[in-house]
């Protein structure tokens, strides 16, 4: 190592570096004040001349319940005309071209923002473990470093795709892009500056990894501080990109003509902005975990030596685990978002859930069911490499059965596709039995059951190769049985009770249902982990011995994440119907119609394939750049110890 430990010079250098970073972070906020002052001055000047024209906000209200009024500070939304305000490339559908470039940028953007989150957590785990077991700590540190390497290659692809996206906007939708830029003018350059900052911090973080690696010393904490900054900037960037989308779906801060009313915060903080952001952060994290798990599976399948196999088997497990941690709260965040959409515009909610786009939710449901079943299947396959799992194997088929029954309920559409003859035979648009599964009560019950079951599988996984030794083992087991059975009874009871009460009360029932699920997760798993204290291993985990089916399951998991993102992106975009900006800027291009599901499905699949092709290239590059020193067999055995959930 080139840096001496506890060297004064180095410490001062690090402090300087950190303060410079901190200043750089604050720098982008400086122009806000300048522009605000300028605006103020301009407004004052205007006031002296004619007095500012005041206009009513389309969303915000003042304390009296009247629409909030602000000074008109921008031009009205233009009435776009085809072909003057729209561009084309030959006979291609402009919208589809934009769709593809947007989706690709989003995929890579999500990935490079999600990976640093994992890396940060992994690095922290590494540092914490380093004190007790330097070997294990280093293993996690190496894992974090390797994850970062994949992200670094993807980062440049993201930037290139961002450029492609901007050019596509300018070439094909100049009118629309011009209007949005005029609204977001006060913050557009902050975005650009933050991007530069993100790059700088990212490179320091990655290339400084080895130089600043002193196990768990000051340098390491300094490095983690840089990681914290990297994540903070990443999240701010993501939020800022999101504000455009949130504004398009639920504009605020402008009047009915689309004129900017001088308060940029009101433009950013639209009615749907916060739930969209939360949903996206969780979604990114789950997606990032899935992609890293797929990378590890790719390396696992192509590994030549047992050591390499062991390392990537372990890595895929960790990445999958992190992804699933983010996946579990995701349905609840989605539920909240949907509730806010209904509160914002009832029509928008109905178009999504009961009307035109309802079938997209069936596609999404299929994907989510796939995700949960895949996770369970992977864990069961992974147990195959843990001697002693045979004790729990008989439970697998019942777990699968519960998942399948939940899936069937979860997938049943409210609006059925049928011929008129089938409709008559059924006696109505709804089936008397399965029609009951088409409504929210059944869906909530199904998804909560699926999540609870996944937690149960994880608990079995944790104790798969362990002989529990704590004296209160039987009490613990009894408690777990009561916990899970009780939770499931509660979930089922509330699900059925939901049919007998008004919708507004029914929505409230989802809270105790979720509470049951989360109790299983946050009480069940710790109790189980506690029971593993002092336990003896039947045999260490045989890392690298997982079945290939497990590795392919992780691929499926990652592809399912990707496809879900594509289909939900289509949904979020389509719900604006013929509006660029909902009720403000009308889409007057020939592509203002809502794409049929079949077409959307094809484009989504194309997007998914394109992304994975590029990603395989990135994987290959990462594998090519530097052959990682694989984990030795001793290290592999070291991780087989009974350690807390999520860290083995």
């Amino acid at each position: 190592m080139s840096i001496t430990r506890n060297g004064k010079k180095e410490k001062i250098g690090a402090m300087l570096l950190l303060s410079m970073m901190a200043m750089l972070i604050l720098l982008p906020f400086a122009p806000i004040n300048v522009s605000a002052q300028e605006e103020e001055a301009a407004a004052e000047g205007a006031e002296e001349a004619t007095g500012p024209e005041m206009a009513k906000d389309v969303f915000y209200w003042d304390a009296n319940g009247d629409p909030w009024e602000g000074p008109v500070s921008g031009p009205p939304a233009p009435e776009l005309v085809y072909p003057d305000n729209y561009g084309t490339y030959g006979n291609f559908q402009s919208r589809t071209l934009l769709w593809i470039s947007n989706q690709q940028h989003l995929y890579f953007g999500s990935f490079v923002l999600a990976v640093p989150m994992f890396v940060w957590v992994m690095e922290l785990v590494g540092v914490v473990l380093y004190r007790k077991d330097p070997k294990l700590g280093k293993k996690f540190d190496d894992l974090a470093h390797e994850m970062m390497k994949i992200s670094l290659t993807a980062y440049s692809v993201t930037a290139i795709l961002g450029g492609v996206l901007i050019f596509t906007f300018l070439a094909l939708y100049p009118g629309f892009f011009g209007y949005l830029s005029s609204i977001f003018k006060p913050v557009m350059h902050i975005y650009a500056l933050l991007f530069i900052l993100e790059s700088g911090v990212l490179y320091v973080f990655y290339y400084g990894w080895d130089a600043m690696n002193d196990g768990c010393g000051d340098w390491k904490y300094g490095h983690m501080a840089i990681g914290t900054m990297l994540n903070a900037i990443g999240i701010v960037l993501m939020v800022m990109a999101n504000t455009w989308v949130a504004f398009m779906q639920s504009p605020s801060g402008v009047d009915a003509q689309g004129r900017f009313l001088g308060d940029i915060w009101k433009v950013i903080h639209t009615p749907l902005m916060v739930p969209i952001v939360i949903h996206r952060i969780l979604g990114n994290a789950a997606f990032g975990g899935g992609v890293v798990a797929a990378y590890a599976s790719f390396r696992f399948l192509s590994a030549k030596t047992p050591e390499e196999k062991a390392h990537y088997d372990w890595m895929s497990y960790i990445a999958m685990f992190m992804g699933v941690l983010a996946l579990i709260p995701l349905p609840f965040a989605g539920y909240w978002l949907m509730r806010e959409i209904y509160a914002y515009r009832q029509q928008m909610g109905i178009t999504l859930m009961g009307g035109l786009l309802a079938w997209v939710f069936i596609m999404q449901a299929t994907m989510i069911a796939t995700l949960f079943i895949t996770v369970n299947y992977y864990l069961m396959q992974a147990m195959g490499r843990m001697p002693g799992y045979e004790r729990y194997a008989p439970a697998f088929k019942w777990i699968l059965a519960i998942l399948v029954i939940s899936t069937i309920s979860w997938l049943t559409p409210h609006t059925l596709v049928m011929t008129p003859a089938e409709l008559k035979a059924m006696g109505g648009a709804q089936h008397p039995v399965v029609g009951n599964y088409g409504v929210m009560s059944a869906k909530n019950t199904a998804i909560n059951t699926m999540i609870t079951t996944t937690v149960l599988t994880f608990i079995l996984y944790q104790r798969s190769n362990i002989n529990i030794k704590v004296p209160w083992a039987w009490k613990g087991n009894l408690f777990l049985i009561f916990l899970f059975v009780g939770a499931e009874i509660n979930i089922l009871f509330l699900g059925i009770y939901g049919y007998y009460i008004p919708a507004n009360v029914r929505i409230g029932l989802s809270v105790p249902q979720v509470a049951s699920t989360l109790t299983c997760l946050f009480v069940g798993v710790p109790v189980n982990t506690k029971m593993l204290k002092g336990a003896t291993q039947i045999a260490p985990i045989r890392w690298g011995k997982m079945s290939v089916r497990g590795a392919y399951a992780l691929f499926l998991l990652a592809v399912a994440f990707t496809w879900t993102m594509a289909v939900m992106g289509y949904l979020r975009s389509s719900v604006r119907l013929h509006w660029h900006v909902n009720e403000i800027l009308r889409d007057n291009s020939p592509w203002a119609f809502t794409n049929p599901l079949g077409y959307a499905g094809n484009i989504n699949s194309l997007n998914v394939m394109l992304f994975w092709t590029m990603l395989l290239f990135v994987f290959w590059l990462s594998a090519l750049s530097a052959k990682k020193a694989p984990a030795s067999v001793e290290e592999g055995a070291g991780v087989g110890k009974a350690v807390p959930a999520g860290s083995h």
Partner: protein
């Protein structure tokens, strides 16, 4: 007790033989009352599943007979098919059946590959069939390569056969309503409008959910509470003035005397998937404007519902809505 392996096939056959009369009973058991038929089917299905599990346990644990996963696969698949296609009544549309069977097929494949042993159990005979050179393997190889393409050919043939049925329609049952509508020269904003006849004993607006105390009470007595008086007047509209029952039925279940002449058939309010999912204002929009004013996304606008604003006054429309919710025991959707 050990019994000959050849006899093990008898048990599934018995199960299927038992299932057929039960399925027939379930199908006709309701005698037009689909609800009861549906629930019988559900009970029978649950019973069958438990029976099948018990049978499996009996064969495996008590008789010590091992049924390879490759044999279990088609048996389980057929069981799912019989349950969904025959026992579940009234019949579900093909699209739904295909979805369910897709899930079942994947689930059974997952079941067969859950553990290392079960995967071996499942894949070993296939590997033998493909690789080995003895007579049995050869025979099963030839049979497989005849039967599988044959099945695919039959399926293709069936799909290519011209069919004379009406084409499938993806109808949007609950299209998004407009933001506001004009009824009798008055603007009704659907997001915020309230039913003026939703009144409690004190004459004030009755919150949604509070009307449950009036469920099951007689609305036709003279000293009925105010809310029930509105229900009664709504009932008069339903059965008298407008005659909604001709299509929507005496029990509001969409089975009125005219209903079978319509395609698609009238809405079934007794179903938890119709009015209980909607705001009162949505129902108001549908009653007032009928089929002719369905929004664009409700293509192909297949609805024979008349625009009742041409025959009823606004108050009658609101009252009949009160009646419909009261009669079915559902609550309208609200967002607060």
């Amino acid at each position: 007790m050990k019994i000959n392996h050849r006899f093990s096939i008898i048990f599934p056959i018995i199960a299927v033989i038992l299932a057929i009369p039960m399925a027939v009973w379930a199908g006709g058991g309701g005698g037009g009352q689909f609800y009861s038929a549906g629930y019988y089917a559900l009970v029978i299905e649950t019973g069958l599943v438990i029976g099948a599990i018990f049978l499996g346990w009996l064969i495996k644990e008590k008789m010590g007979i091992h049924i390879p996963k490759l044999i279990q696969f088609p048996f389980l698949w057929a069981m799912c098919y019989v349950a969904l296609r025959v026992i579940l009544q009234p019949p579900i549309p093909f699209s739904l059946l295909a979805m369910y069977m897709g899930v079942c097929t994947i689930a059974i494949l997952l079941y067969c590959s859950l553990t290392v042993d079960s995967w071996k159990d499942f894949s070993h005979p296939i590997a033998v069939m493909l690789r080995e050179d003895h007579a049995k393997a050869k025979l099963s190889r030839y049979a497989t390569f005849l039967i599988v393409p044959g099945l695919i050919a039959a399926q293709t043939y069936n799909q290519m056969l011209p069919s004379f049925g009406e084409p499938i329609e993806l109808r949007t049952v609950h299209p998004a309503p407009p933001a506001s509508i004009n009824v009798h020269k008055k603007l009704v904003t659907l997001q915020t409008a309230e039913n003026p006849f939703r009144i409690g004993d004190d004459g004030e607006y009755l919150k949604v959910g509070d009307e449950s105390k009036y469920f099951g009470q007689n609305a036709w007595v003279d000293d009925a509470p105010k809310f029930l008086q509105q229900v009664k007047e709504g009932g008069i509209v339903f059965f008298g003035t407008a005659g909604c029952f001709f299509c929507h039925g005496d029990n509001l279940d969409g089975k009125g005397p005219f209903s079978f002449a319509f395609n698609p058939i009238p809405a079934n309010f007794a179903d938890p998937g119709t009015i209980s999912q909607l705001q009162e204002t949505f129902v108001f929009w549908r009653v007032a404007k009928g089929g002719p004013d369905l929004s664009r996304e409700a293509f192909p606008w297949a609805s024979a519902m008349p625009p009742w604003e041409k025959h009823l006054v606004t108050n009658e429309i609101w009252k009949v809505i009160i009646f419909e919710y009261w009669h079915t025991g559902f609550f309208p959707r609200t967002w607060e």
